[in-house]
Amino acid sequence: MKIIFSVLLIFVFTKSTFSQDVDSTDLMFLLDSEKSNKPIPVIATFKTTRIINGHSIEQVAGGILDVKISHRFGRLNEGAYNLFGLDYAYIRIGMDYGITNWLMVGLGRSSYEKMYDGFFKIKLQQQEENGNLLSVGILSSIMVNTLKLTDTNRPNNNSDRLYYAFQLLVANKLSENLSLQITPSLVHYNLVAKEEDPNDVIAIGVGARQKITKWVSFNLEYYFQIPKFKLPNTENVLSAGFDIETGGHVFQLFCSNSTGIPEKNFISGTTGKWYKGDVYFGFNIARVFTLTQEGRKTKWE
């Protein structure tokens, strides 16, 4: 009996000290202890779906249409006569659409090589706080050159004019201001100029974004072509510029040694040399339109 008694006594005593604890505990401390460790997706690794020429890890959200107008002017080293290249420009008009938050598709048409391109991009993994370390996505695009045939005497197949690009996008937002991406890429040519030219060009892209202010960031992008798998007389593409955001618009202003916009052109078809001043000023303007808002959690549940 005595044992039961003392056990109970101890029980009551410890219990009251416990409740004493609760009494004296600050409510905010209690709330703090309720913090969940639920993973939270990391947003805005890059400002838009392109770093400069190449795709970023970003997707257009489900139900959003993103209209993109891209210009690449002439070379800066053309001098004052052509107003440093501003006298003429290549243009791409394109549209990206988010079917879901993880699947987007896009279509575009560039005046350079009268190239049509279509792609889909899939987000496989999203970087998270308390969760995934990296964001991972894939891009698959197809391009078709629709210039008039130059040599009608040789056999011409429609498939000869097709190009494909596949990219693995791996990105990390290191901090509030700095994001990095590595982009292993493959560009496939159905037909190349010479027999000894490779049909597959392999390149590794790296891209970075550094926020300067809340609305402006500095972007850098470089694609290194693996020497054994590159076409002759082509250069690695280096681009640098700024993202400027103004509400629903994003303006990207930059310089690059590429004049082409689709993957086939800028990854494997760049001929400009930075050190010779073969640098092209260019810009992308993106404007988003919300077509549907379904599937967004904005209702009182």
Binding site: M1, I4, F5, L8, L9, F11, V12, K15, S16, S19, V22, L27, M28, L30, L31, D32, E34, K35, S36, I40, I43, A44, A61, G62, I64, N101, E176, K214, W215, T246, G247, G248, V288, T290, Q293, R296, K297, T298, K299, W300, E301
Partner: protein
């Protein structure tokens, strides 16, 4: 001896009862706000608000994860987090306050009560005293609390660029609804 034992048992039981019912809590409180203008609807909602109410002394606390506010437009949500609330630097907003007219409320009796609430709101690390009147519905051991109040964007160093200033209201109407249940741990 037996009487003491019984007394202790009763005491133990009674104590656990009172302790249980002293703190009320929710992990799924709702906060929405309206910062829209005739040009643009801005009415996000957060369904993951945690709040604790101590009915013995009237203390009230809220913790709000900024990233849990969801907007109809994805881009708006991005701007909200990245540019206005800087939710990486200030992930949570808190409120710590008190019901000042505790005597008017009988938490043991079902009914609808008006509660005057006063306390300190912290948004983006900036503290501000606010007061609001709330409705408390006590029903079957649960408490539903609702309130509405107004905040000024400028009070919390939230800068709105002139380019979008006609789309975003300077005053924000906030709506809160919490369904409290006795806190069990």
């Amino acid at each position: 001896m037996k009487t003491i034992l019984l007394l202790l048992l009763v005491l133990n039981f009674a104590e656990s009862q009172t302790e249980k019912s002293k703190l009320f809590m929710t992990r799924s409180g709702k906060i929405s706000f309206h910062a829209g203008t005739p040009i643009e609807d801005i009415d996000p909602i957060n369904n993951e608000v945690t709040s604790i109410l101590n009915i013995t002394n009237g203390e009230l606390g809220f913790q709000v994860l900024i990233k849990a506010f969801h907007f109809k437009k994805a881009l708006m949500e991005e701007h909200f987090n990245e540019n206005y609330m800087e939710s990486n630097s200030f992930p949570r907003s808190t409120f710590k306050g008190k019901i000042t007219n505790l005597d008017d409320i009988n938490f043991q009796k079902d009914g609808t009560y008006k509660a005057a609430i006063k306390g300190e709101l912290t948004i983006k690390g900036i503290k501000k005293e606010i007061a609001s009147s709330a409705t408390l519905i006590v029903n079957g051991g649960k408490i539903i609390g609702t309130t509405k109040f107004k905040l000024e964007v400028a009070d919390f160093k939230i800068e709105i660029p002139s380019l979008v200033s006609d789309k975003i209201s300077k005053g924000v109407d906030v709506e809160v609804e919490c369904r409290y249940e006795p806190r069990t741990k």
